[in-house]
Amino acid sequence: MYRYDQYDQALVDERVAQFRDQVARWKAGDLTDDEFRPLRLQNGLYVQRHAPMFRIAVPYGMLASKQLRCLAELGRKYDRGYGHFTTRHNMQFNWPKIEDVPEMLAALAKVQMHAIQTSGNCIRNVTTDQFAGVAADEILDPRPLCEILRQWSTFHPEFAFLPRKFKIAVNGAKEDRALTWFHDIGLHILKTDDGLVGFRVIVGGGLGRTPIKGEVVREFLPWQDILTYSEAIIRVYNRYGRRDNAYKARIKILVQALGIAEFARQVEAEWEHLKGGPATITQAEYDRVAACFEPPAYETLPAIDEGFVRQQANSIPFARWVERNVRPHRVSGYASVTLSLKKPGTAPGDITSEQMDAAAKLADDYSFGELRVTHEQNLVLADVEQRRLFDLWQEAKVAGFATPNIGLLTDMICCPGGDFCDLANARSIPVAKAVQARFEDLDYLWDIGDIELNFSGCMNSCGHHHVGHIGILGVDKGNEEWYQITLGGRQGNDAGLGQVIGRSFPAEEVPNVIETIVRFYIAQRHEDERFIETFDRLGVDAFKVAVYGDKARLKAAA
C-alpha cells in the first residue's frame, strides 16, 4: 500500500498542530462555536447525541495491520473498547472527548493516518472496490489513481467550502463494486481498443433526501487529465451550486437544474483553460505511486489445492464459509476472504478493540499484513493461500469473524442510527438486530440466498437503503419511530433506486414485514432465481399485495 514520504508525513503532522491550536483557541473563546464547527467537521469531529463522534479516514479502504492496531488502541484508550466501520471506508468512534482528539490525531499520524476531510462541505475520502488489485475482472488497479486523487483533494485551497459535501468513487473492474453511479463524481476505469487508459466520468449521483443516479458527463477522459477535469467540474459546482438550502446544495441538484448537456458544456468550457496545465498527471508520478501497489511476493502454487478440496468435503461448516466468504483470486492458489462484521446480535460494522487486534494478527499471519474495509462494513484479507484457508477459518471463528453470511440477509448495511447519531429520525441498530434474530437459522438464511438489505436511520441515507434489494428507512412521525420499506434497489453496473411499497411500520412490525416479503419471494421464485430477479419478474405491486393485502390489490388495479 501507499507509504508516506517526508512531504506526506509533514502535512499530517502539521494538521495535528493546526487542530491542536484550533481546539485551544476555541477553549479560550477566540473561536466561536460557529467558527469552530466547520473546522472540527473537516477533521471528522461531530457533536452527537451522547458525545462527540470522531471519524477517521481509511483512504480507499486500505488498512495496514499496524494501523488497525492503532485504531484498536484508540478504542481502548479514548472510547469504550470498540469502533464502527462506515459505508465510506471510515472508522467512527462514538465516545471520545473533544480535548482528546488532538492526541488521537497525533497517534494516527504516527501510522500514516488522519481524519482530514472526513466531514464538512469539502472533498471527502475517495472510495473504491474492496477487491482492487486482486479481482479477476479488473481492468486496472484503481488504487494509484485513488491515492493521487487523495493527495490532490487534501487541503485543496479552492474547494474547502463547497456548497455541500463532495464524494468521489473510483472503480477499476468490469463489475462496479464502488457504487459509482451514486457519487458526486463516479469514475469507471476504461481501456480503449488501442490500449489507452482513461475514465468514464459520471457526475451528479447521490443518495440522501433526493436520490438521483449520476449521469455521464464524459465518455472517455485520459487518466492524465483527471485532476484538471475534476477541478473544472468542482469549480463549476463551487461557483453555481445552490447555497440557499442545504437540502438542495449537492451537485446533483445543479446537474438536474442545468441538464447534463448544459452542465457538460460548462465543464468543458472551464476545462479548456485547465487542460494540459501543470496539474496534468505525469507518468513519473503515476509510476512512483503505483510502485507502492505492486503485487506482494506470491508463492507459485497450483490453481486448486488438494488439501483445501478435501477440507471442504470433510466439513460442511467450512465449505459453507468458503462458499459465502471466500472469493477467487487472480493469482493461482490464492483467495480473498471477507471477515464478517455481521455476526447476529452485534451492530453491523461494529468491531471491538480485541477484534481489531485479532484481525491485524490474521492479516500479518495470512495476508501480507494488509486489510481492506468494504462499503458493506466488513473486512477483507485480499491475499490468502488456499492451502491455509482452513487454519484461517478456525482462527476467524474464535475472533467472531467467520459468520458465513456474506451477501445473505444478515450481512446487512446499517448506519449507527438514533442510538448515536444526532441526525437520525429513528434507531436502526435494535431493529437491525431484531431482523437478524428473525433470520438466525442458517439453513433458512441459506435457502433465501443472495439478498442485500440496507438500513438507514434517516433520509441522509448513510445505510444506502435506496440501493438495497430491501431498503429500510427510519422516519419520524409525530416523535415516533416508523420504518419505510423499499424494494428493488441495487448496486453494481445496473445500479438503481428501490421503490417505496407503501405506508411505514412501527419497529416491532419490521421483522414480520421482512419475513412476509421473503416468504413471498420463496413461494414465487423459479428455480435458481435470486430475490432481485424474482422482484424484477413480478414487479413491485405483487410484493405490495403480499405485504398489505387486498387494499394494495385494489390500489394497484385503480
Binding site: Y7, A10, D30, F155
Partner: protein
Amino acid sequence: MSTIIKNRQALADEFTLLKLAEGEAAETVSLPAGPLLVPLAVWNIRKDELQARGTPVGVWLDVTEGPEAIAAELSAFAVIGVNFPKFTDGRGYSTARLLRERYGYTGELRAIGDVLHDQLFLMARCGFDAFALKEGKDVAKAVAAFETFKVPYQAAVDQPQPLFRRRAA
C-alpha cells in the same frame, strides 16, 4: 483607519470600503473622499466620476459577481476586493484564482467580509495578498496562519507547480 494584513504584515488601510446600506442606490450614494473601494454596481454606473477624482479606486465583488464582470478593466483598479459574506461560502476562492490565473490580475487582491484566521492559508494559496480580518479578531496571531502547511500538494496561485512535479525522491 482600520488595519489590514498585506504581504503577511499588519498595515493601516488607506482605502475606505463603501457598502450600499439599505435604501441607498449606486447612482446617488455619496462617495467619501480619498482612496475608495466600491461595490461593482457603483463602479459600473459611476466609473467616469470615480476615475476623474484622481485618487486610487478599487472595486469589490460579491459572491454572485464573477470576475468576468471586470475582466476587461483590471488595470483601472488599485485593489480588487472579494467579499465573503460568511466564511463558509467558498465562491470567493474560485473568483480569486480566476482573477490571477485566467485574467492575469497582478494588483492587490483583498479578502473582505467574514475573513478569519483559519481561512488565511487557503486564501493566500488562491491568490489573495491582502486581508481585511473580521472586526475583533487578533491580527498578530492570525499572521501565523500563513505557515500552517509548508509544502502543500496542489498547484495554485502561490505555487503553480503541483508537488508531484517538484517532489525530490
